[in-house]
Protein backbone atom coordinates (compact mmCIF):
# COMPACT_ATOMS: atom_id res chain seq x y z
CA UNK A 1 0.00 0.00 0.00
CA UNK A 2 2.90 2.39 0.63
CA UNK A 3 4.43 4.14 -2.32
CA UNK A 4 8.03 4.37 -1.12
CA UNK A 5 9.34 5.80 -4.39
CA UNK A 6 7.31 8.99 -3.90
CA UNK A 7 8.76 9.64 -0.46
CA UNK A 8 11.81 11.85 -0.06
CA UNK A 9 14.76 10.72 2.06
CA UNK A 10 14.28 12.04 5.59
CA UNK A 11 17.95 12.85 6.20
CA UNK A 12 18.24 14.81 2.93
CA UNK A 13 14.99 16.64 3.69
CA UNK A 14 16.32 17.64 7.12
CA UNK A 15 19.39 19.16 5.43
CA UNK A 16 17.09 21.01 3.01
CA UNK A 17 15.03 22.32 5.94
CA UNK A 18 18.17 23.50 7.78
CA UNK A 19 19.31 25.19 4.55
CA UNK A 20 16.09 27.25 4.48
CA UNK A 21 16.46 28.18 8.15
CA UNK A 22 20.10 29.19 7.86
CA UNK A 23 20.40 32.99 7.87
CA UNK A 24 16.63 33.42 8.12
CA UNK A 25 16.15 32.27 11.69
CA UNK A 26 17.10 34.50 14.66
CA UNK A 27 20.60 33.82 16.04
CA UNK A 28 19.22 33.01 19.52
CA UNK A 29 15.93 31.36 18.51
CA UNK A 30 14.94 28.38 20.67
CA UNK A 31 14.01 25.18 18.83
CA UNK A 32 11.03 23.47 20.44
CA UNK A 33 10.22 20.01 19.11
CA UNK A 34 6.73 18.55 19.29
CA UNK A 35 6.91 14.93 20.54
CA UNK A 36 7.90 12.58 19.18
CA UNK A 37 9.10 13.23 15.59
CA UNK A 38 9.52 16.97 16.09
CA UNK A 39 11.68 16.33 19.16
CA UNK A 40 14.14 14.24 17.13
CA UNK A 41 14.40 17.05 14.55
CA UNK A 42 14.79 19.81 17.17
CA UNK A 43 17.67 17.82 18.68
CA UNK A 44 19.49 17.69 15.32
CA UNK A 45 18.86 21.23 14.05
CA UNK A 46 21.33 23.24 16.25
CA UNK A 47 24.24 21.36 14.61
CA UNK A 48 22.91 22.30 11.16
CA UNK A 49 21.78 25.90 11.76
CA UNK A 50 24.40 28.40 12.99
CA UNK A 51 23.60 30.35 16.15
CA UNK A 52 22.97 29.75 19.82
CA UNK A 53 19.79 27.69 19.88
CA UNK A 54 18.43 26.26 23.14
CA UNK A 55 16.36 23.12 22.56
CA UNK A 56 13.05 22.36 24.26
CA UNK A 57 10.42 19.66 23.99
CA UNK A 58 6.67 19.94 24.09
CA UNK A 59 4.02 17.26 24.56
CA UNK A 60 0.62 18.53 23.46
CA UNK A 61 -1.42 15.61 24.88
CA UNK A 62 -3.18 17.81 27.44
CA UNK A 63 -4.02 20.48 24.86
CA UNK A 64 -5.41 18.32 22.05
CA UNK A 65 -8.92 19.04 20.79
CA UNK A 66 -9.88 15.36 20.41
CA UNK A 67 -9.69 14.37 24.12
CA UNK A 68 -13.48 14.12 24.42
CA UNK A 69 -13.52 11.65 21.50
CA UNK A 70 -10.39 9.60 22.08
CA UNK A 71 -9.64 10.01 25.79
CA UNK A 72 -6.25 10.49 27.40
CA UNK A 73 -3.41 9.26 25.21
CA UNK A 74 -1.00 6.97 27.00
CA UNK A 75 2.71 7.69 26.99
CA UNK A 76 2.50 11.45 27.49
CA UNK A 77 5.90 13.05 28.09
CA UNK A 78 6.96 15.93 30.24
CA UNK A 79 7.05 19.28 28.45
CA UNK A 80 10.52 20.69 29.03
CA UNK A 81 11.39 24.26 28.08
CA UNK A 82 14.81 25.02 29.63
CA UNK A 83 14.78 28.74 28.78
CA UNK A 84 12.64 31.75 29.66
CA UNK A 85 9.63 31.68 27.34
CA UNK A 86 8.84 35.34 28.12
CA UNK A 87 10.26 37.41 25.27
CA UNK A 88 11.84 34.42 23.52
CA UNK A 89 11.89 33.78 19.79
CA UNK A 90 10.69 30.22 19.39
CA UNK A 91 10.71 27.95 16.36
CA UNK A 92 8.21 25.13 16.82
CA UNK A 93 9.53 22.04 15.06
CA UNK A 94 7.29 19.21 13.84
CA UNK A 95 7.79 16.28 11.51
CA UNK A 96 4.62 16.36 9.42
CA UNK A 97 2.23 19.29 9.07
CA UNK A 98 -1.28 18.08 8.21
CA UNK A 99 -4.44 19.57 9.76
CA UNK A 100 -2.56 22.13 11.89
CA UNK A 101 -4.28 20.97 15.10
CA UNK A 102 -1.08 19.88 16.88
CA UNK A 103 0.49 23.25 16.12
CA UNK A 104 -2.57 25.01 17.53
CA UNK A 105 -2.28 22.90 20.69
CA UNK A 106 1.46 23.59 20.97
CA UNK A 107 0.97 27.37 20.62
CA UNK A 108 -1.67 27.28 23.36
CA UNK A 109 0.64 25.30 25.63
CA UNK A 110 3.60 27.68 25.03
CA UNK A 111 1.50 30.59 26.25
CA UNK A 112 0.95 28.82 29.59
CA UNK A 113 4.70 29.19 30.14
CA UNK A 114 4.94 32.88 29.25
CA UNK A 115 4.60 35.38 26.41
CA UNK A 116 7.02 34.65 23.57
CA UNK A 117 8.21 37.55 21.41
CA UNK A 118 7.65 35.51 18.27
CA UNK A 119 6.73 31.96 17.27
CA UNK A 120 7.74 30.45 13.93
CA UNK A 121 7.07 27.00 12.54
CA UNK A 122 9.55 24.59 10.92
CA UNK A 123 8.30 21.29 9.47
CA UNK A 124 10.06 18.47 7.69
CA UNK A 125 7.06 17.63 5.48
CA UNK A 126 4.03 19.72 4.58
CA UNK A 127 1.43 17.24 3.30
CA UNK A 128 -1.43 19.76 2.87
CA UNK A 129 -4.94 19.13 4.18
CA UNK A 130 -5.10 22.03 6.61
CA UNK A 131 -8.17 22.45 8.83
CA UNK A 132 -6.82 25.56 10.56
CA UNK A 133 -5.11 28.70 9.24
CA UNK A 134 -1.58 27.47 10.06
CA UNK A 135 1.34 27.79 7.61
CA UNK A 136 4.97 26.77 8.06
CA UNK A 137 7.70 29.43 8.15
CA UNK A 138 10.28 26.84 7.01
CA UNK A 139 9.49 23.60 5.19
CA UNK A 140 11.74 20.71 4.08
CA UNK A 141 9.49 19.28 1.37
CA UNK A 142 5.87 19.32 0.20
CA UNK A 143 3.94 16.13 -0.52
CA UNK A 144 0.49 15.20 -1.72
CA UNK A 145 -0.90 12.20 0.14
CA UNK A 146 -4.42 10.72 0.26
CA UNK A 147 -6.32 11.78 3.41
CA UNK A 148 -6.63 8.24 4.79
CA UNK A 149 -2.85 7.73 4.78
CA UNK A 150 -0.41 8.90 7.47
CA UNK A 151 3.11 10.10 6.80
CA UNK A 152 5.19 8.76 9.68
CA UNK A 153 8.71 9.68 10.73
CA UNK A 154 10.66 6.97 12.54
CA UNK A 155 14.14 6.87 14.03
CA UNK A 156 16.44 3.89 13.96
CA UNK A 157 19.98 4.21 15.38
CA UNK A 158 19.78 8.01 14.95
CA UNK A 159 18.84 7.70 11.27
CA UNK A 160 15.50 9.25 10.34
CA UNK A 161 13.14 7.53 7.95
CA UNK A 162 9.81 8.47 6.36
CA UNK A 163 7.04 5.97 5.67
CA UNK A 164 3.40 6.03 4.61
CA UNK A 165 0.93 4.02 6.68
CA UNK A 166 -2.77 3.32 6.49
CA UNK A 167 -4.36 5.48 9.18
CA UNK A 168 -6.21 3.90 12.09
CA UNK A 169 -9.52 5.71 12.44
Amino acid sequence: MSDATALPDAEATLVALAERMRGAVAYDAAFVGIYSGGAWLAERLPALVPGNHPVGYIDVSYYRDDYSRTGLKSGAKRTDLPFDVDGATIVLVDDVLFTGRSVRAAINELFDFGRPACIELAVLIDRGGRELPVEPTYCGARLTVARDLSVVLSRDADRLRLAVEKQER
Partner: protein, 319 residues
Protein backbone atom coordinates in the same frame (compact mmCIF):
# COMPACT_ATOMS: atom_id res chain seq x y z
CA UNK B 1 -19.92 -10.26 35.59
CA UNK B 2 -17.77 -7.46 34.28
CA UNK B 3 -15.65 -5.45 36.70
CA UNK B 4 -17.92 -2.41 37.30
CA UNK B 5 -14.88 -0.12 37.13
CA UNK B 6 -14.08 -1.02 33.54
CA UNK B 7 -16.00 -0.34 30.32
CA UNK B 8 -16.58 -2.87 27.53
CA UNK B 9 -13.07 -2.18 26.18
CA UNK B 10 -11.46 -2.89 29.56
CA UNK B 11 -10.69 0.79 30.14
CA UNK B 12 -11.07 2.47 33.53
CA UNK B 13 -14.36 4.35 33.76
CA UNK B 14 -14.83 4.48 37.56
CA UNK B 15 -12.22 4.07 40.30
CA UNK B 16 -13.76 2.22 43.24
CA UNK B 17 -11.07 -0.11 44.56
CA UNK B 18 -7.64 -1.45 43.57
CA UNK B 19 -8.80 -4.96 44.39
CA UNK B 20 -9.26 -6.89 41.16
CA UNK B 21 -7.84 -4.17 38.89
CA UNK B 22 -5.50 -5.66 36.27
CA UNK B 23 -1.82 -4.79 36.85
CA UNK B 24 -1.53 -3.04 33.48
CA UNK B 25 -4.41 -0.71 34.41
CA UNK B 26 -2.66 0.20 37.69
CA UNK B 27 0.66 0.71 35.90
CA UNK B 28 -1.15 2.80 33.28
CA UNK B 29 -2.41 5.18 35.97
CA UNK B 30 1.06 5.47 37.56
CA UNK B 31 2.64 6.12 34.14
CA UNK B 32 -0.01 8.73 33.31
CA UNK B 33 0.64 10.55 36.60
CA UNK B 34 4.33 11.27 35.89
CA UNK B 35 3.93 14.15 33.39
CA UNK B 36 1.25 15.72 35.61
CA UNK B 37 3.82 16.20 38.40
CA UNK B 38 5.59 18.88 36.34
CA UNK B 39 2.42 20.95 35.78
CA UNK B 40 2.99 22.45 39.26
CA UNK B 41 6.29 23.95 38.07
CA UNK B 42 4.66 26.01 35.32
CA UNK B 43 3.75 29.67 35.38
CA UNK B 44 0.14 28.68 34.64
CA UNK B 45 -0.47 25.58 36.78
CA UNK B 46 -3.30 24.35 34.61
CA UNK B 47 -3.96 22.24 31.54
CA UNK B 48 -7.25 22.38 29.64
CA UNK B 49 -8.09 18.64 29.63
CA UNK B 50 -11.31 18.81 31.68
CA UNK B 51 -12.39 22.28 30.60
CA UNK B 52 -16.18 22.53 30.79
CA UNK B 53 -16.52 19.39 32.94
CA UNK B 54 -18.13 19.53 36.39
CA UNK B 55 -16.56 17.63 39.28
CA UNK B 56 -18.81 17.21 42.33
CA UNK B 57 -17.06 16.54 45.62
CA UNK B 58 -19.59 14.45 47.54
CA UNK B 59 -18.22 14.12 51.04
CA UNK B 60 -20.63 12.34 53.39
CA UNK B 61 -17.77 12.10 55.87
CA UNK B 62 -15.45 14.93 56.83
CA UNK B 63 -12.02 15.22 55.28
CA UNK B 64 -10.21 18.43 54.60
CA UNK B 65 -7.01 16.98 53.15
CA UNK B 66 -8.44 14.54 50.64
CA UNK B 67 -11.19 16.93 49.52
CA UNK B 68 -8.65 19.71 49.01
CA UNK B 69 -6.26 17.56 46.97
CA UNK B 70 -9.12 16.40 44.73
CA UNK B 71 -10.20 20.01 44.36
CA UNK B 72 -6.69 21.15 43.41
CA UNK B 73 -6.31 18.23 40.99
CA UNK B 74 -9.64 19.01 39.28
CA UNK B 75 -8.85 22.72 39.07
CA UNK B 76 -5.43 22.05 37.55
CA UNK B 77 -7.30 20.11 34.86
CA UNK B 78 -9.53 23.21 34.36
CA UNK B 79 -12.70 21.48 35.58
CA UNK B 80 -15.37 23.29 37.54
CA UNK B 81 -15.46 22.00 41.11
CA UNK B 82 -18.56 21.97 43.28
CA UNK B 83 -18.10 21.04 46.93
CA UNK B 84 -21.17 19.67 48.65
CA UNK B 85 -21.28 19.41 52.39
CA UNK B 86 -23.84 16.62 52.31
CA UNK B 87 -23.98 16.05 56.04
CA UNK B 88 -25.47 19.50 56.45
CA UNK B 89 -27.91 19.39 53.53
CA UNK B 90 -30.16 16.99 51.63
CA UNK B 91 -29.40 13.79 53.54
CA UNK B 92 -30.38 15.39 56.82
CA UNK B 93 -33.70 16.29 55.16
CA UNK B 94 -34.30 12.62 54.37
CA UNK B 95 -33.20 12.33 50.72
CA UNK B 96 -31.68 8.97 49.75
CA UNK B 97 -28.13 8.73 48.38
CA UNK B 98 -29.28 7.75 44.88
CA UNK B 99 -31.88 10.55 44.74
CA UNK B 100 -29.12 13.00 45.60
CA UNK B 101 -27.00 11.52 42.79
CA UNK B 102 -29.86 11.68 40.26
CA UNK B 103 -30.45 15.33 41.09
CA UNK B 104 -26.80 16.17 40.59
CA UNK B 105 -26.73 14.25 37.29
CA UNK B 106 -29.67 16.43 36.24
CA UNK B 107 -27.35 19.37 36.99
CA UNK B 108 -24.89 17.86 34.45
CA UNK B 109 -22.30 16.39 36.78
CA UNK B 110 -19.46 14.62 34.95
CA UNK B 111 -17.45 13.20 37.86
CA UNK B 112 -18.47 12.37 41.42
CA UNK B 113 -15.73 12.18 44.02
CA UNK B 114 -17.36 10.27 46.86
CA UNK B 115 -16.40 9.77 50.47
CA UNK B 116 -18.75 7.85 52.70
CA UNK B 117 -18.57 6.17 56.10
CA UNK B 118 -20.41 3.14 54.66
CA UNK B 119 -18.30 0.64 52.74
CA UNK B 120 -19.70 0.21 49.23
CA UNK B 121 -21.42 3.59 48.82
CA UNK B 122 -19.33 4.64 45.76
CA UNK B 123 -19.90 1.20 44.24
CA UNK B 124 -23.67 1.62 44.73
CA UNK B 125 -23.54 4.98 42.90
CA UNK B 126 -21.44 3.60 40.03
CA UNK B 127 -23.71 0.56 39.63
CA UNK B 128 -26.76 2.86 39.61
CA UNK B 129 -25.23 5.07 36.90
CA UNK B 130 -24.19 2.04 34.83
CA UNK B 131 -27.66 0.46 35.17
CA UNK B 132 -29.33 3.64 33.92
CA UNK B 133 -27.02 4.01 30.94
CA UNK B 134 -25.32 7.12 32.29
CA UNK B 135 -21.92 5.93 31.16
CA UNK B 136 -20.69 9.50 30.66
CA UNK B 137 -20.81 10.08 34.43
CA UNK B 138 -17.85 8.75 36.44
CA UNK B 139 -17.24 7.92 40.09
CA UNK B 140 -14.02 8.13 42.09
CA UNK B 141 -13.96 6.57 45.53
CA UNK B 142 -12.31 9.00 47.97
CA UNK B 143 -12.63 6.56 50.88
CA UNK B 144 -15.55 4.33 51.90
CA UNK B 145 -15.83 2.93 55.43
CA UNK B 146 -13.11 0.41 56.11
CA UNK B 147 -13.20 -0.82 52.53
CA UNK B 148 -10.97 1.15 50.19
CA UNK B 149 -9.17 4.42 49.48
CA UNK B 150 -7.82 3.71 46.01
CA UNK B 151 -6.31 7.11 45.16
CA UNK B 152 -4.35 7.01 48.43
CA UNK B 153 -3.21 3.48 47.55
CA UNK B 154 -2.16 4.69 44.09
CA UNK B 155 -0.23 7.68 45.42
CA UNK B 156 1.53 5.36 47.87
CA UNK B 157 2.43 3.04 44.97
CA UNK B 158 3.58 6.05 42.93
CA UNK B 159 5.79 7.23 45.80
CA UNK B 160 7.31 3.77 46.28
CA UNK B 161 7.99 3.43 42.55
CA UNK B 162 9.49 6.94 42.45
CA UNK B 163 12.09 6.06 45.09
CA UNK B 164 12.51 2.32 44.54
CA UNK B 165 11.81 1.98 40.78
CA UNK B 166 10.48 -1.60 40.86
CA UNK B 167 8.29 -3.67 43.18
CA UNK B 168 9.57 -7.18 42.51
CA UNK B 169 12.44 -7.05 45.05
CA UNK B 170 10.81 -5.03 47.83
CA UNK B 171 9.87 -5.74 51.43
CA UNK B 172 7.15 -3.34 52.56
CA UNK B 173 5.85 -3.06 56.14
CA UNK B 174 2.51 -1.47 57.02
CA UNK B 175 2.42 -0.61 60.70
CA UNK B 176 -0.30 0.16 63.22
CA UNK B 177 -4.07 0.36 63.05
CA UNK B 178 -4.68 -1.90 60.05
CA UNK B 179 -8.12 -2.89 61.37
CA UNK B 180 -9.71 0.50 60.69
CA UNK B 181 -7.55 1.36 57.70
CA UNK B 182 -8.95 1.47 54.16
CA UNK B 183 -5.57 2.97 53.21
CA UNK B 184 -3.87 -0.26 54.27
CA UNK B 185 -6.35 -2.44 52.37
CA UNK B 186 -5.92 -0.48 49.14
CA UNK B 187 -2.14 -0.43 49.43
CA UNK B 188 -1.94 -4.19 50.15
CA UNK B 189 -4.06 -4.98 47.07
CA UNK B 190 -1.95 -2.64 44.93
CA UNK B 191 1.37 -4.01 46.18
CA UNK B 192 0.41 -7.66 45.68
CA UNK B 193 -1.07 -6.94 42.23
CA UNK B 194 2.21 -5.34 41.13
CA UNK B 195 4.21 -8.34 42.36
CA UNK B 196 5.74 -7.15 45.65
CA UNK B 197 7.25 -10.35 47.10
CA UNK B 198 6.89 -9.46 50.79
CA UNK B 199 4.20 -7.31 52.33
CA UNK B 200 4.16 -7.27 56.13
CA UNK B 201 1.58 -5.94 58.55
CA UNK B 202 2.75 -5.03 62.03
CA UNK B 203 0.41 -4.29 64.92
CA UNK B 204 -1.27 -5.58 68.07
CA UNK B 205 -3.78 -8.41 67.60
CA UNK B 206 -6.63 -6.06 68.51
CA UNK B 207 -5.80 -3.71 65.60
CA UNK B 208 -5.31 -6.31 62.85
CA UNK B 209 -8.31 -7.71 60.96
CA UNK B 210 -8.94 -11.41 61.58
CA UNK B 211 -7.63 -13.56 58.73
CA UNK B 212 -5.54 -10.66 57.39
CA UNK B 213 -3.11 -13.33 56.09
CA UNK B 214 -5.69 -14.13 53.42
CA UNK B 215 -4.67 -10.85 51.73
CA UNK B 216 -1.22 -12.31 51.13
CA UNK B 217 0.67 -10.58 53.92
CA UNK B 218 2.98 -11.73 56.74
CA UNK B 219 1.83 -10.78 60.22
CA UNK B 220 4.15 -9.49 62.95
CA UNK B 221 3.18 -8.45 66.45
CA UNK B 222 6.76 -7.53 67.39
CA UNK B 223 7.64 -4.31 65.56
CA UNK B 224 11.42 -4.76 65.79
CA UNK B 225 11.18 -8.18 64.20
CA UNK B 226 8.83 -6.88 61.49
CA UNK B 227 10.98 -3.89 60.50
CA UNK B 228 14.11 -5.93 59.93
CA UNK B 229 15.34 -5.57 56.32
CA UNK B 230 12.42 -3.42 55.11
CA UNK B 231 12.73 -1.17 52.04
CA UNK B 232 9.55 0.76 52.79
CA UNK B 233 7.75 1.46 56.08
CA UNK B 234 4.20 2.79 55.92
CA UNK B 235 2.89 4.13 59.23
CA UNK B 236 -0.85 4.32 59.72
CA UNK B 237 -2.74 6.85 61.80
CA UNK B 238 -4.22 5.55 65.02
CA UNK B 239 -7.91 6.15 64.30
CA UNK B 240 -9.15 7.06 67.75
CA UNK B 241 -12.45 8.34 66.38
CA UNK B 242 -13.34 4.92 64.98
CA UNK B 243 -12.45 2.92 68.05
CA UNK B 244 -15.23 1.42 70.05
CA UNK B 245 -14.35 -0.52 73.18
CA UNK B 246 -10.98 -1.25 74.69
CA UNK B 247 -8.69 -2.05 71.75
CA UNK B 248 -5.70 -0.31 73.31
CA UNK B 249 -4.48 0.39 76.85
CA UNK B 250 -3.38 3.98 76.00
CA UNK B 251 -1.75 6.07 73.28
CA UNK B 252 1.48 6.13 75.34
CA UNK B 253 1.52 2.35 75.56
CA UNK B 254 0.91 2.13 71.80
CA UNK B 255 3.86 4.45 71.05
CA UNK B 256 6.12 2.33 73.25
CA UNK B 257 5.40 -0.82 71.21
CA UNK B 258 4.37 0.43 67.75
CA UNK B 259 5.56 4.04 67.49
CA UNK B 260 8.30 4.53 64.87
CA UNK B 261 11.51 5.88 66.41
CA UNK B 262 15.00 6.30 64.90
CA UNK B 263 16.10 3.39 67.06
CA UNK B 264 13.50 0.99 65.63
CA UNK B 265 13.96 2.36 62.10
CA UNK B 266 17.66 1.48 62.21
CA UNK B 267 16.63 -2.19 61.91
CA UNK B 268 15.29 -1.55 58.39
CA UNK B 269 17.57 -1.16 55.34
CA UNK B 270 19.76 2.00 55.38
CA UNK B 271 17.93 3.39 52.32
CA UNK B 272 14.46 2.72 53.75
CA UNK B 273 11.73 5.26 53.03
CA UNK B 274 9.11 6.19 55.63
CA UNK B 275 5.58 7.02 54.52
CA UNK B 276 2.42 8.17 56.28
CA UNK B 277 -0.96 8.94 54.68
CA UNK B 278 -1.61 11.85 57.12
CA UNK B 279 -2.81 13.41 59.25
CA UNK B 280 0.02 12.34 61.58
CA UNK B 281 -0.23 11.91 65.32
CA UNK B 282 3.28 12.81 66.38
CA UNK B 283 4.32 10.91 69.47
CA UNK B 284 1.54 8.34 68.96
CA UNK B 285 2.45 6.33 65.85
CA UNK B 286 5.53 8.27 64.75
CA UNK B 287 8.29 10.18 66.49
CA UNK B 288 8.93 13.73 65.25
CA UNK B 289 12.61 12.94 64.60
CA UNK B 290 11.52 10.26 62.09
CA UNK B 291 8.65 12.25 60.57
CA UNK B 292 11.03 15.17 59.87
CA UNK B 293 14.08 12.96 59.25
CA UNK B 294 16.00 12.28 56.06
CA UNK B 295 14.23 8.93 55.37
CA UNK B 296 10.77 10.53 55.45
CA UNK B 297 8.94 11.01 52.13
CA UNK B 298 5.69 12.10 53.74
CA UNK B 299 5.51 15.52 52.05
CA UNK B 300 6.45 14.25 48.56
CA UNK B 301 3.51 11.83 49.00
CA UNK B 302 1.18 14.84 49.21
CA UNK B 303 2.63 16.38 46.04
CA UNK B 304 2.44 13.11 44.11
CA UNK B 305 -1.15 12.67 45.36
CA UNK B 306 -2.30 15.64 43.29
CA UNK B 307 -0.67 14.29 40.11
CA UNK B 308 -2.15 10.82 40.69
CA UNK B 309 -5.64 12.28 41.15
CA UNK B 310 -5.20 14.36 37.98
CA UNK B 311 -4.27 11.17 36.12
CA UNK B 312 -7.26 9.24 37.48
CA UNK B 313 -9.79 11.96 36.66
CA UNK B 314 -8.45 12.62 33.17
CA UNK B 315 -8.38 8.90 32.38
CA UNK B 316 -11.89 8.03 33.55
CA UNK B 317 -13.47 11.16 32.05
CA UNK B 318 -12.03 10.24 28.64
CA UNK B 319 -13.21 6.61 28.72
Amino acid sequence: MRNPQLNANGELTHLLTLEGLPPDVIRGILDAATPFVSIAEREVKKVPLLRGKAVFNLFFENSTRTRTTFEIAAKRLSADVINLNIGASSTSKGETLLDTVDNLVAMDADIFVVRHSQSGAPHLIAAHLNAHGRTHVHVVNAGDGRHAHPTQGLLDLYTIRHYKREFHHLTVAIVGDVLHSRVARSLIHGLTTLGTPEVRVIGPKTLLPTAVQAMGVRVFHDMREGLRGCDVVVMLRLQNERMKGALLPSAGEFFKHYGLTQDKLSLAKPDVIVMHPGPMNRGVEIDSAVADGDRSVILPQVTFGIAVRMAVMSMIAGN
